[in-house]
């Protein structure tokens, strides 16, 4: 693979996807500390939002330590060069949240839908484009649809006004060939001015390999997370990816030692648990389940005595999609009840 001089725009997720791994409890000081470190290391884009996007604050996904307004208001004024993005999932957040983010200085809005339901994003993508924001269409759980379906949905988002389309491996399920196929088709068929992006999770240990495949197939933007801080087994660890890109002489613009230090000195010390491919995170990737289900499944295991792995496999079998966190406790209750019935019948 030859990526020499290839331009790669990295986008840090530690302060948004990483919110899942921190149960949305990152403090304002930690946010500012990590964001300023990333800014200094040359990170061009940093996402700051509740893990489930603007308006994600809820019983279902978790109440954060601070509101989106507070996080964005604390981080954005401290940025020297980095731009700040916010995530928005239609059905959870609304255009009111989008306007709030714009007013606070967010430059990039990423509107995320399940990979087959892009038409719920029309009003949000339309407004962001009208406000002349950098507008990204973010197709989640992209392993659940064919390349042709992903392209069809990407074209919808493009027609609403998105200037960048992401193929998002929310479950960390994809292998490099699948990434290549999907990204290459998007690159071949979308408007040449539309940028392509890839967002990976490390649940099968493939995040770096998949990100390289994406760049090779035509993606310019690549999401990752410093120290991998993200849902499931985390996102593509950015300090590792930068080192790999460096060796391949790709054009990434990041200071390797500085980002290594942000990972080691600022992010790792605040982790609640090591971000690694444990058996439950591996099950997410193996069964194709939304990565942020991980901690919910572990909590359900602790409360109802049903193994997280069994819950996740069943959720995968049922075809659950991003945002259906409520099904985890529901399923655990049902499985616990079935188990009790079986015991009584013996």
């Amino acid at each position: 693979m030859n990526l020499k001089d290839k331009k790669v725009v990295l986008h840090d997720m530690s302060l948004r996807d990483g919110m899942h791994a921190k149960r949305h409890q990152i403090s304002l000081e930690q946010m500012v500390d990590i964001a300023t470190g990333l800014d200094d290391a040359g990170m061009p884009l940093i996402e700051v939002t509740h893990g489930d996007g603007l308006g994600g604050t809820s019983v279902n996904y978790g109440f954060p330590a601070h509101s989106d307004e507070e996080y964005l208001g604390a981080v954005i004024p401290k940025m020297k060069n980095a731009k700040v993005s916010a995530l928005l999932l239609p059905g959870i957040g609304t255009v009111d949240h989008l306007r709030m983010a714009k007013d606070l200085g967010v430059s990039t809005i990423r509107v995320a839908t399940h990979c087959t339901e892009a038409d719920v994003s029309e009003q949000h993508i339309g407004l962001a484009a009208k406000l002349e924001m950098d507008t990204v269409g973010f197709l989640m759980m992209a392993h659940m649809a064919s390349p042709e379906k992903i392209l069809e949905q990407a074209k919808l988002m493009e027609s609403y006004g998105a200037n960048c389309i992401y193929c998002t491996d929310s479950a960390g399920y994809m292998l490099p060939d699948e990434v290549t196929e999907k990204i290459a088709l998007l690159r071949a068929e979308l408007n040449p001015n539309t940028e392509i992006g890839f967002h990976g999770h490390h649940n099968m240990g493939m995040a770096i390999a998949n990100s390289l495949a994406a760049v090779d197939a035509g993606a310019v933007r690549v999401d990752g997370s410093v120290a991998g801080l993200g849902a499931g087994a985390g996102n593509t660890p950015l300090e590792v990816f930068v080192a790999v890109l460096d060796r391949m002489q790709a054009d990434h613009g990041i200071d390797l030692y500085k980002i290594m230090d942000v990972a080691e000195d600022r992010v790792v010390p605040m982790m609640d648990q090591p971000i690694r491919v444990d058996r439950d995170a591996l099950t997410l990737g193996y069964a194709g389940v939304y990565s942020s289900f991980l901690l919910f499944a572990k909590r359900a295991e602790a409360k109802y005595g049903i193994q997280a792995r069994d819950l996740l496999v069943e959720l995968g079998r049922r075809g659950t999609v991003g945002g259906q966190e409520d099904m985890i406790e529901d399923l655990a209750l049902t499985m616990a009840q079935q188990r009790a019935n079986q015991t009584n019948n013996v």
């Binding site: 019983v59 059905g91 399940h114 339901e117 075809g319 209750l333």
Partner: protein, 303 residues
């Protein structure tokens, strides 16, 4: 004189047709007119075959016949954009409007919670909130009738096939309207609504989760009883409304997990989200008819 109120349905799409089939079974409402805007639409043809009078000229095509055919109630299954005009024109002629769009000009109506009150006050326009609202607000109310609910949150998951283009194009209407009704009708101090669209095949039956945060420690026995009673109330007009799990108590959190299977009249059974809207709309009109028949309200006078 028949006790039945004569009705018009505006919008011969999936919702309008399902409503029509339910209406043929009603003891209180008699469908007379189906109103559309496209003379070639399948929905209008279907209605005509079922014996209804039809017009393809919108509400204006119906207006000259309202008095002569004694139309007393109309169901608007079109869109929020045209509802206000439809409602104004028909209200002027003394027709009660049941609004199945997200326009919400009139007060929100969730039958087991506040329909009686609307009927007694002869509200001339009532809004049926949203599918997620119809499925979940009875549960929020079941808890808030026992004790103060500081926060009510609902998550509605519907199958991709049952989410129409109107819902998709304006999904923010769903979250806003539903959250507002969780407060105003459900009785929560603050409301939050989330909608998830799931494309699994075969399509999944509508699922709803309701989380309430009570101000004080929840009275588990009283809330459990209230929830079970409320489920029975909803089952009177939506037999496929089922409590799957709960109420579950965790500190001040009360959670209820529901499934809504439709009757499969015109819409498939998995589309419980659409069925609960048509069933609630019809139930609403029936209550007005019952109250008029027993003399507790007097319908607008007609010469």
């Amino acid at each position: 004189m028949s006790k039945k109120l004569k009705a018009a349905i505006i919008g011969p799409g999936n919702i309008g047709t399902d409503l029509l089939i339910k209406m043929f079974r009603s003891e209180w409402i008699e469908p007379v007119w189906m109103v559309g805007i496209d003379p070639t639409s399948d929905g209008l043809k279907r209605a005509e075959e079922m014996g209804l009078k039809t017009t393809s000229e919108g509400v204006d095509g119906l207006l000259p016949h309202v008095i002569e055919d004694d139309i007393r109630v109309a169901f608007d299954a079109t869109s929020a954009y045209v509802h206000a005009e439809n409602s104004r024109k028909l209200n002027e002629l003394g027709v009660i409007m049941v609004d199945l769009t997200p326009a919400a000009i009139g007060p929100y109506c969730v039958p087991p919670v506040n329909l009686k009150q609307h009927a007694k006050e002869l509200e001339m326009n009532v809004n049926m909130v949203t599918c997620g609202g119809q499925a979940t607000i009875p549960m929020v109310a079941a808890v808030s009738q026992v004790q103060d609910v500081e926060y009510g949150e609902i998550i509605a998951t519907v199958s991709s096939r049952s989410a129409g283009p109107g819902t998709r194009k304006n999904i923010d209407e769903f979250t806003r309207t539903t959250a507002g009704a969780v407060e105003k009708v459900g009785g929560a101090d603050k409301g939050k609504a989330i909608i998830i669209i799931n494309p699994a095949e075969p399509p999944l039956i509508m699922r709803d989760t309701v989380h309430c945060l009570t101000k004080d420690t929840p009275d588990e026995a009283a809330i459990t009883e209230s929830v079970h009673n409320m489920v029975k109330e909803v089952q009177k007009y939506v037999p496929g409304y089922r409590l799957v799990n709960g109420p579950v108590f965790d500190g001040n959190r009360v959670s209820v997990f529901l499934e809504v299977e439709g009757l499969g009249d015109y819409l498939p059974k998995y589309a419980g989200n659409l069925d609960i809207m048509t069933a609630a709309g019809l139930r609403t009109a029936e209550m007005f008819a019952e109250e008029a028949a027993n003399g507790s309200i007097t319908l607008p006078e007609r010469g």
